[in-house]
């Protein structure tokens, strides 16, 4: 007689997503609800991508202002351009004929970093959490910036998050983005950043970077540091994808190799095999 094993019932617990199975297939969903909204029977055709993105993370629909702010941020960071480290990663995948997913992974790895990447946004949001609209807290924190987390897999942080350590002045697209987002935001962080940008840059001895603007926007949207980090990763992928395919079609011969750019300081010279 076969012994019936009492299997422990395990579940994925979620407030985001509910599925009702098809009557003929327990593994296919007949209806999917996102925070109570029927995605395919109700939202589809009514909701924009940006509104849906907000709903997925916040579990409530955005207001019109919030959707406009998130959309503005998404457009501002959708393509960091082919000189950006994350886009360069993706293009390296493209020129070699790597798979599509590999190209995006090659964008995500540098794009996750503390120099211009998602981890920098995470740290900047943590600064917002710490200092809010207290200018002297900000000035002190960016002048002598140190991460809270000391022992971790992330390398040393060499500059205050949200600022460009190699900048000479605040770049025009950063100023344009900050102006636009602060004009449309119903929050106070972007407006405050716009008002105090110069003082903060003086304290940081570096101009404000797009990561700093993004962090302020995500604070105004009431995202926490983890949400901010993962959204920044996601929202910067479109440009990486497009540039990867463009370079794939152009090929490796038309892509920089820096042939004369490497200097080896400890070459023992040729040895016969």
């Amino acid at each position: 007689m076969a012994e019936e094993k009492e299997k422990k019932k395990e579940f994925i617990h979620s407030k985001i997503w509910e599925e009702i199975p098809e009557p003929d297939n327990p593994f296919a969903a007949a209806a999917c609800y996102c925070s109570g909204y029927d995605v395919y029977g109700d939202l589809l055709g009514k909701i924009s991508w940006i509104e849906y993105l907000y709903l997925l993370f916040k579990l409530e629909p955005p207001t019109k202002d919030q959707a406009k702010l998130l959309e503005g941020l998404a457009v501002a960071i959708a393509n960091p351009g082919p000189r950006d480290l994350s886009v360069r990663g993706a293009m390296n995948g493209g020129v070699g004929g790597s798979t599509a997913a590999a190209c995006l992974m090659a964008a995500l790895a540098p794009g996750a970093g503390q120099y211009g990447g998602a981890r920098e946004v995470y740290l900047a949001v943590k600064l917002w959490n710490k200092c809010g609209l207290d200018l002297s807290c900000w000035q002190e924190s960016v002048k002598n910036y140190e991460k809270d987390e000391k022992l971790e897999v992330w390398p040393e942080m060499e500059h205050p998050p949200g600022f460009d350590p190699h900048g000479a002045s605040c770049a025009t697209p950063v100023k344009q983005t900050l102006k636009y987002l602060s004009d449309i935001s119903s929050g106070s962080s972007l407006e405050w950043l716009q008002a105090h940008r110069v003082e903060l840059e003086s304290a940081a001895d570096s101009p404000l970077a797009m990561t700093g603007v993004a962090a302020a926007a995500l604070i105004d949207l009431e995202f926490d540091a983890e949400q901010a980090e993962i959204l920044f990763l996601l929202l910067r992928l479109p440009g990486a994808a497009a540039h990867a395919l463009e370079q794939k079609h152009q090929g490796w011969r038309k892509y920089p190799f820096f042939s004369d750019g490497l200097v080896l300081t400890n070459d023992p010279g040729t040895t016969k095999v």
Binding site: G96, G97, S98, A106, Y115, E156, H166, W252, L262
Partner: protein, 269 residues
């Protein structure tokens, strides 16, 4: 319609002989106890055992190890996959992200895993054709004249000579693996290309695939074996850049983007 019978049968029911962890007690890896049966094994021995379910002798293990060392451990940050590791480091991201992304990108067509897989397929197919009475000359002609492709395992971007060929041939000779059928096909095809004054030469993907095929790996087994081969070079590139200032890895000024698209225009609402 097939329906969900397979999924229903598999629900909470993964039947495997690959292995499992029994917390606090043991780990079983393809039927062997990791802490006793595999205690003295090298990492490469465990890797190959995991991939193939077979154990190899010391000569074969030296081959598997040395192929990784000689063929794939370049700490050269300009090569496209390694460059991803350097970019990740200069962005001050993590080592694990660097290696993961670089390993994924290494599945390229002009080099790397897709090229390795194609080289293995070609050399094993060529061997079957030779066994069936075909000539090397005809095999080459079919690839180059009829299919109009470079035979996988031959040719190279950047430079035609592959500096890894001499040390790997030396390795093969030391191990007595220079007598295998696939090895001879690879080397003889190279000689044929030289005789025909072609710029194409045997590359290391072709030679390594031939050596692996002579040891009885299947195409899939060979592919799984080579997946992580670049890791040592990848990590070296990451380390090199992570200890230098952020953004210092071959930064590009705006003028380095040569725009060839549409002229400036306004977005119409």
């Amino acid at each position: 319609m097939r329906g969900s019978e397979l999924l229903t049968k598999s629900e909470d029911n993964w039947v495997t002989d690959m292995g499992a962890w029994f917390g606090g007690d043991r780990v079983i890896f393809r039927g062997k106890n990791l802490f006793t049966d595999l205690f003295d094994k090298s990492w490469m021995e465990v890797l190959l055992y995991g991939i193939t379910g077979r154990e190899f002798d010391q000569s074969q293990m030296r081959l598997w190890n040395s192929l990784w060392v000689l063929c794939a451990s370049f700490p050269e940050p300009r090569i496209w996959n390694n460059r991803v590791a350097s970019l990740t480091a200069t962005a001050k991201s993590t080592g694990s992200l660097a290696i993961s992304a670089t390993t994924a990108v290494s599945e390229a067509t002009i080099y790397g895993k897709q090229a390795d897989y194609a080289a293995f397929e070609f050399i094993t197919r060529a061997n079957k054709q030779i066994e069936g009475g075909e000539t090397l000359e005809n095999i080459l002609n079919v690839e180059m004249k009829t299919k109009r492709i470079i035979p996988p395992g031959f040719g190279r971007p950047m430079i035609s000579v592959d500096e890894r060929i001499p040390p790997v041939i030396k390795l093969a000779e030391e191990l007595g693996f220079d007598k295998g059928a696939h090895f001879k096909i690879a080397v003889n095809l190279d000689k044929l290309l030289v005789d025909k004054r072609k710029k194409l030469r045997l590359n290391i993907a072709g030679l390594a695939a031939a050596l692996a095929a002579d040891q009885g790996l299947s195409p899939r087994e060979y592919y799984y074996y080579v997946i992580m081969a670049f890791s040592a070079g990848n990590l070296a590139c990451y380390q090199d850049a992570v200890y230098k200032p952020a953004g210092a890895f071959f930064p590009l000024r705006c003028e380095k983007v040569s725009y060839q698209g549409k002229p400036h225009r306004k977005w119409e609402i």
